[in-house]
Assembly symmetry: C2
Homo-oligomer: 263 residues x 2
DNA sequence: AAGCAAAGTGACGAATCGTCATATTTTGAC
DNA sequence: GTCAAAATATGACGATTCGTCACTTTGCTT
């Protein structure tokens, strides 16, 4: 039922992209897994989400069915692995966003920017995250993969926690009585998840059709952070300009590749 | 590719639960569809999300495969139909929530209450909504069903719009320049969707594990509505008490059935 | 009652999943 | 270098599941 783990059973470090491996074998295994994931993403991008089948992946790669199933215990497990990959890339972008120099609230905005950017650059992978939240997928994914996923989620929230902390230290944010970082993190995360999930599927006619996605996200974020009384409030500060600045200063390379792709 | 529509082609009214039908035939058809949906939900609740197959549904019901496929063009279409059903029930609960007497912001809270209540009472159906946002499902659902879904979403947002309007008329809420109802609706919706989606899958160990779900939702809502400067602000008003009051005054029957079920 | 359109039936073919007995490669000891 | 044991790879195969279609039945109209 569970996928064989070829790594040592020592928990919690398999998901880092660049890591020392016990030996060549494990390294090769990890590399092959990445290779398979890249291939799977390509198939999905080309043939649609339901166009991805295990058989197609097997044919497309240089390995056999058994080998592929050594990596992914089921199709759902493969989807979760893609979700994990997506989150790993998010973390990398988040870390980049942390480099933005500014007030605490501006720096959190940089994280949101990174999130949105990731969704735009890798829509397919982003959808995998949504899909991985689905019971049909969770039910059939391997235990190990789900654990990995949960760990990454924690890791993502820790990035935010840093900024909450800075906000408090700088005196820009106060933690209400009985409220912890977790509450704030959850609120920030829920809004980001909800906004992006709904925006992603809404390029056509719906409620959100006419709303510019970027604008909407920024608006929503301002709402929540204003609600936290995180100064400077949106009425006292030009966060739209800040948003632009984040793009220019931190993510210019990503933006240009994005423009190239859509051109 | 598309499911045959046995109703008149006049658009936009098929989704109302109680409606006049052109003739007995259509009525029977609609009733059977509901019957099938109830059955499908039961199978899903009992055997898990991936335990629902078309074959099982066919065996469980008194009709043949062909008949079932006359209703649902594919398994994904069936899932969407369940999603539609879920939204119809939500609307009914929303309408009930509208009956709450109070200030505009309190009344919007009643809508959130209804949303949360629905998620608790029908977790399976609620998951269908999440699943229906997934590309794998959207790709294979019938056009007609997706239209129906989009219409219902609009209808849901209109309920909220009423309350935004009341808020403005009462002077409790001001629409910033360049901001429309749609923006506010979207923010409210995104937060509700994100919070509930994340809370639903998080009864166990994760970031949200220790946070009481109800509390978290109320907290998040307060954050956003405070961000809108919707008076009275959460610091000036006891919305937790209001939340309790909503439960008692409006949804007491639902609450008792819920307690019965979990006892 | 006859005729006809609409709906129902279920056997069937195609596609997909995941397994397992066997073949191959790698490892490590001498 | 050699050889046995352990790890890994292979792909044919059985089991589901999906969705279709040629044919039958139902029920409405005249």
């Amino acid at each position: 039922m569970n996928i064989k783990l070829h790594f040592g059973k020592g928990g919690g470090s398999e998901h880092c992209l660049l890591k020392k491996f016990k030996n060549k074998r494990e390294q090769a295994f990890a590399e092959r897994e990445q290779e398979l994931l890249v291939l799977a993403e390509k198939i999905m991008a080309k043939e649609g989400f339901s166009g991805l089948t295990m058989d197609k992946l097997v044919v497309a790669c240089d390995y056999s069915k058994g080998t592929v199933y050594n990596h992914f215990s089921s199709k759902e497990d493969l989807l979760c692995a893609l979700c994990v990959k997506s989150m790993e890339m998010e973390i990398a972008l988040f870390d980049k966003g942390l480099a933005f120099q500014g007030r605490s609230r501006e720096r959190l905005l940089a994280i949101y920017y990174a999130y949105r950017l990731h969704a735009l650059m890798h829509p397919t992978l982003f959808y995998c995250v949504l899909t991985a939240k689905t019971p049909a997928v969770k039910e059939k994914a391997s235990e190990a993969r789900l654990t990995q996923q949960a760990e990454l989620e924690l890791q993502l929230s820790h990035v935010c926690d840093q900024l909450f902390e800075q906000g408090i230290q700088d005196g820009d944010l106060k933690l209400p009585a009985g409220i912890t970082y977790s509450h704030l993190s959850f609120a920030a995360w829920a809004l980001a998840f909800g906004s992006n999930a709904l925006l992603q599927g809404a390029s056509e006619a719906t409620l959100v059709s006419r709303i510019n996605a970027q604008e909407a996200l920024l608006f929503n974020v301002n709402l929540v952070l204003d609600g936290m009384h995180w100064t400077p409030l949106s009425q006292d500060w030009d966060y739209r300009a800040c948003w632009q600045r984040i793009g220019k200063k931190i993510f210019s390379t990503e933006l240009s590749t994005l423009e190239q792709a859509s051109a």
